[in-house]
Symmetry: C2
Subunit: 153 residues, 2 copies
DNA sequence: TTATCTGCAAACGCTTTGCATCGGA
DNA sequence: TCCGATGCAAAGCGTTTGCAGATAA
């Protein structure tokens, strides 16, 4: 965690990402490495368009289709987690642990919400006559900043 | 609950729906009555397109825009509940009680999941530094039928 | 009468697809 | 070498919008 930014650290991080891709039986390409790198270091919860814009601004001349292809591949191999934060708001992040999300209805900020029982959600799956694999919880409301702005305004 | 289908029951049901609309400060129009009626009696969890197709097949010559306008109005007044069952899968149902949803990843069927603590979800809202209004939980997996088909096939 | 709803069609935003080219293994 | 990834552009899908005409209150 200390070598962020040093040439050595850069190389080591890239190697680690390449290894991840190989383990997922995916070819190691520039765009995949950069996409993973972007999601690893920066802000979480990026949209496909955020990613396209960000990567292009970093000098990577990739196409929109490649972003979607890559995201799809990485999600299906479990390297990325996709969250449906509302109509037309599909967000991607590195999958490192199970968690849920809070979406502020005012400013749109996304907060991670810890998942108390690991992968399992709140409600008891035995209430459902089905085999439950995953549970996605989305909380909606006002974040602290927006709530205070409303109260003092 | 006995007069389903009898002329009297029809009229009474329509009157009830009209009252609902008036209480929500919405004008009583044919398309709104029929939309509410469709969602009240038939299958729950209909998409905007399902609704358009269904209502047109019942002889109501309404437009796509009206369906979306009406759904939006009814949702904003709390008469309908909208669920995001996946990318491009927005489903509408009469709002009668808080509950969550299970989505079968094989056949796409939607099951209602009771909400054990009323409006409150599983995870403790005090873990979030925000004011939580709602929580939407979506369980994914295989429904009983699909699970058994897989096991026996 | 008037604010509101409806219909139509066009536009919109996000995502997927087809196909030729490029490139990692 | 060869399968898979990329780029480009076009199409697809669900949804929204603008405006003229209809209609509930």
């Amino acid at each position: 965690m200390a070598e962020r930014g040093s040439p050595d650290g850069e190389a080591r991080r890239t190697l680690a990402l390449a290894t991840q891709l190989k383990m997922a039986r995916l070819r190691v390409t520039r765009s995949r490495l950069q996409l993973l790198s972007l999601l690893s270091e920066g802000r979480r919860h990026l949209s496909a368009d955020d990613i396209l814009t960000e990567m292009r601004s970093q000098g990577e001349p990739l196409s929109r289709a490649t972003v979607y292809n890559t995201l799809g591949a990485l999600v299906s191999r479990g390297l990325l987690m996709v969250t449906d934060a509302g109509p037309g708001r599909t967000l991607y992040e590195i999958f490192d642990h199970w968690h849920h999300h809070f979406v502020c209805q005012k400013c749109g900020v996304i907060l991670d919400v810890p998942c108390v029982v690991g992968e399992n959600p709140c409600l008891l799956p035995d209430q459902i006559d089905a085999e439950v694999d995953t549970a996605q919880v989305i909380f909606r409301g006002r974040c602290r900043a927006c709530a205070e702005r409303d109260a003092h305004g």
